[in-house]
Symmetry: C2
Subunit: 141 residues, 2 copies
Amino acid sequence: MSEFYSIGQLSKLAECKVPTIRWYEDKGLLPAPTRTEGNQRRYTKRHLTTLRFIRHARALGFDLPAIEKLQQLNGCCYGDHIEADRIAQEHLDDVRNKIAKLKAMEAELVAMIEGCDYEHSHKCRILDVLADHGLCGSDHQ
Amino acid sequence: MSEFYSIGQLSKLAECKVPTIRWYEDKGLLPAPTRTEGNQRRYTKRHLTTLRFIRHARALGFDLPAIEKLQQLNGCCYGDHIEADRIAQEHLDDVRNKIAKLKAMEAELVAMIEGCDYEHSHKCRILDVLADHGLCGSDHQ
DNA sequence: CTTAAAGTCTCTAGTGACTAGAGGTTCAAG
DNA sequence: CTTGAACCTCTAGTCACTAGAGACTTTAAG
């Protein structure tokens, strides 16, 4: 078994685009790998694990600074566990806030679209509502 | 009643920051107002109406190209109504997609946080799950 | 061994919708 | 007339990438 992956191989294995890998290295999330004599990157299994960690955390919506903090915790002591929990909980709150906002948007959009009875009124409620916040029910920001 | 607003007054009336107003003008969403001899902007009620339309549409999550299209519809003919409806519906689908994705994230975050029983296992499930996608249930991207 | 194709390198610029700041000018009140 | 708030333009920064240019390296076929 060959020990090294090129950036393209790593890209396929981790389902992460090549420029994104380089970008993570640039930002310090993925350690710089060794290079060939011709200056091309050669990665190890460890890099693959790290990259998968990053991608998984991204898929869950963590931002890069949070991921960097999570990486520094290795989970072997109680403090690490508490801190990981705090970061995850904070992010969960964030996600829930976003959901709430989007649901408010959704409700208002539905009301707007369904309330539009052009056939009868010959006025488009969608454009009316947009023009006048007073015409819509909720107090979105 | 004075006919004109300064950019600061408009800002307060429309609850929109001053640089944002200038930026909308730059992007062609808000018509360029007249200027004083000293080159300061002077807005009319019409500008206020337009700016409120933009802000309301933004609050509902429409992006600027969509808002520009909506502005060009005045709602007085059937075609306008159909088009406004199409744009709104498309955006609603978008919003619902985002909600679905966030809910998937939420579920997985909750599972991760609640499944973390550090007291017993002395391993932090949060970090474990992030390191290995296989440990989590869903097929988020 | 040569050659061609595919892969890789660095660097810059663009995305969306603003926001922040520098450095200078104008307005309105007293 | 002075002062200070508001205004002007322009540039750069945000986030997490993505796209592209132009040059170099690696790999597989012949």
